[in-house]
């Protein structure tokens, strides 16, 4: 080794410690978060995946053995699971659609300035702050003919013949959690969409108005295209989230009556919490995860196609 550098560009190397410090800086900021996520989410996730292939029963000290695909074989025969799958589709589809539809209208209403907007906004967003278990209890009480007004009102309106609890009616029970979910979830869509609406440059509307576009044309040619990316990502995230969201159902109906409101997420919870069969619960969760990932991939691919078309 010689001390002279070759070539015409003598370039002092950065001291090693300094380079290390520079490279480590972003990791120092992210370290606490990463450690937590890995320890409390990633490791349990991997463990949970492995449980799907093992016999894990909390109260059985002899459990823990490797059972291969037994859980999945059992699952393929499990009619309760298939019913839960159908219920999940219904629950997720209806909830997302209604939340989005009413959330969009609310966001559009709030995008216009009016006296008292701040107060109105705070009040209509309030349900989001209500703890989900309480929202569930609250709506269960509302549907309860003993103390809730809803059955009586429905009778007066001629929707029902007698003031019964719809949560006890196998044909109508699912509407209970869905309505509670819509009530609770509208603010999320409204907040996100309102934020996106307020990011649209106002002069675009002025330009369109000068060009002679009527309000409906302005909505379809400016508002919707601008909102589209937000709508796509929010609907995707919410769909996944609601499919996984069991709180309301557990609190309101616990899957009943006759499993009519059992969705996959609440079924997993029942298996884990009531039967303490963690292995089987993990197998179901794995299937749900795969389905949701497949769904997300499809959405992402469709979105990519749409973007490439433009």
């Amino acid at each position: 080794m010689t001390l002279s550098t070759t070539g015409s560009r003598p370039r002092p190397l950065k001291p090693f410690a300094r380079r290390l410090a520079d490279a480590a800086e972003p990791w120092l900021y992210t370290a606490p978060v990463l450690v937590l996520i890995i320890a409390v989410m990633l490791v349990p996730l991997i463990l949970g995946l492995s449980y799907a292939f093992r016999d894990i029963q909390l109260l059985n000290p002899f459990s823990g053995g490797f059972v291969g695909l037994d859980h999945f074989r059992e699952l393929s025969q499990d009619t309760a699971f298939y019913r839960a799958l159908r219920n999940t589709l219904w629950w997720t589809g209806a909830s997302v659609f209604l939340q989005f539809f009413f959330g969009l209208i609310l966001a559009l209403l709030l995008d216009k300035p009016f006296a008292g907007r701040g107060l109105a906004q705070a009040l209509v967003f309030l349900p989001w702050a209500v703890p989900t278990f309480l929202a569930g209890l609250n709506w269960a009480w509302m549907f309860n003919p003993v103390i809730g007004p809803l059955p009586h009102w429905m009778v007066s309106l001629g929707i029902m013949s007698a003031p019964n609890n719809i949560l006890a009616d196998p044909h109508l029970a699912m509407w209970g959690p869905i309505i509670a979910n819509v009530w609770w979830g509208i603010p999320f869509f409204a907040i996100t969409l309102l934020a996106a609406l307020q990011a649209i440059p106002r002069d675009l509307y002025e330009a369109a108005a000068i060009d002679g576009a009527n309000p409906l044309q302005r909505f379809t040619s400016i508002t919707l295209p601008f909102l589209a990316p937000t709508i796509a990502i929010t609907v995707l995230l919410r769909t996944v989230w609601i499919a996984n969201f069991a709180d309301l159902i557990i609190v309101m109906t616990n899957g009943g009556p006759a499993d009519r409101t059992q969705i996959v997420a609440s079924y997993i919870f029942t298996q884990a919490f009531k039967r303490l069969d963690f292995g089987y619960a993990s197998a179901i969760a794995l299937v749900l995860l795969v389905l949701l990932l497949a769904y997300s991939m499809v959405i992402v691919v469709i979105r990519q196609r749409l973007i490439e078309k433009d």
Binding site: E25, A129, P131, W141, W183, I191, L288, L292
Partner: protein, 274 residues
């Protein structure tokens, strides 16, 4: 025409406000209705006389004060810790480009995708040898991890709204990056910090499934668990249940009302950048 539109607009807003508030109003109404009037005046909008008897009973004869205290400790600590560490990571995502950044973002996104129920069993198995089941500490750790990814993205969007020139200027003025972060950037992110605090507090205050799984005794039960056991035990005493419900509602709603306008701001800042 435009007057009609204005009226329709206000009526629509009013309809939303009524829809949002009515269930909460009903909760309050039943909680102050004396038991003897509950059935006779079922659908009346306000009982012919109101009472705070249910509240008194719940506070004196149940474990709710303990639940309340536990929830306050859990939600408060979670909110503080999450906000602290996700402001650091949000800042890193906003300001640094580094190898592995996409992996970090991907990791955080993945945690938003899978069913958290899936973690119930493994987390229980991991925490119990550490003595962290049936303990508030265990809940705080779990809730902190669950809320950190979203909080990081939220904080990042707030940091993205603050010009880089400010910390460049501070660093030229003689501050290290961390000093610039503390003295210049953080004070300007106060609305974002408030929004994150409120969001996480509300989320931790409301969490049910893991609290149910990890906590068994009354001593470290949080409000949701307490209320739910109370409901299944005394499912006839609606007045008392609803009084407890109102008490569970108040802290979350207060927090939310304080921060809700920053939440829209924060999401707007993110939307403008993205």
């Amino acid at each position: 025409m435009s007057i009609l539109l204005t009226i329709a607009h206000r009526l629509a807003i009013l309809a939303y406000v009524v829809f949002a508030l009515f269930p909460l109003y009903w909760l309050l109404k039943v909680s102050v209705t004396p038991n003897d009037l509950l059935y006779s005046e079922g659908v009346r909008m306000w009982p012919s006389h109101a009472t705070l008897e249910h509240y008194r009973y719940v506070l004196e004869n149940s474990a709710f004060p303990i639940f309340f205290r536990n929830s306050l400790i859990v939600a408060g600590s979670t909110a503080l810790v999450v906000t602290l560490i996700s402001s650091l990571s949000g800042y890193a995502l906003s300001r640094f480009t580094f190898r592995g950044k996409y992996a970090v973002v991907a990791l955080m996104l993945i945690t938003q995708m899978f069913p958290l129920v899936m973690l119930v069993a493994p987390i229980f198995k991991m925490l119990s040898p550490l003595g962290l089941t049936n303990s508030l500490m265990g809940l705080i750790i779990v809730y902190t991890a669950f809320n950190v990814p979203f909080a990081t993205f939220l904080m990042q969007s707030f940091f993205d709204g603050i010009p880089r020139d400010l910390e460049d200027s501070a660093m030229i003025d003689g501050a290290s990056r961390f000093t610039a972060f503390r003295q210049i950037i953080l004070p300007l992110t106060l609305p974002g910090i408030a929004a994150t605090l409120g969001f996480v507090f509300t989320a931790a205050w409301s969490e049910l499934l893991f609290a149910l799984m990890l906590i068994s005794g009354n001593d470290s039960a949080t409000f949701p668990v307490g209320l739910l056991t109370f409901v299944s035990k005394f499912s006839v005493d609606f007045g008392q249940m609803m009084a407890a419900g109102v008490m569970a509602l108040v802290p979350a709603c207060l927090f939310f009302l304080l921060i809700q306008r920053y939440l829209v701001q924060g999401l707007t800042a993110g939307a403008v950048k993205g």
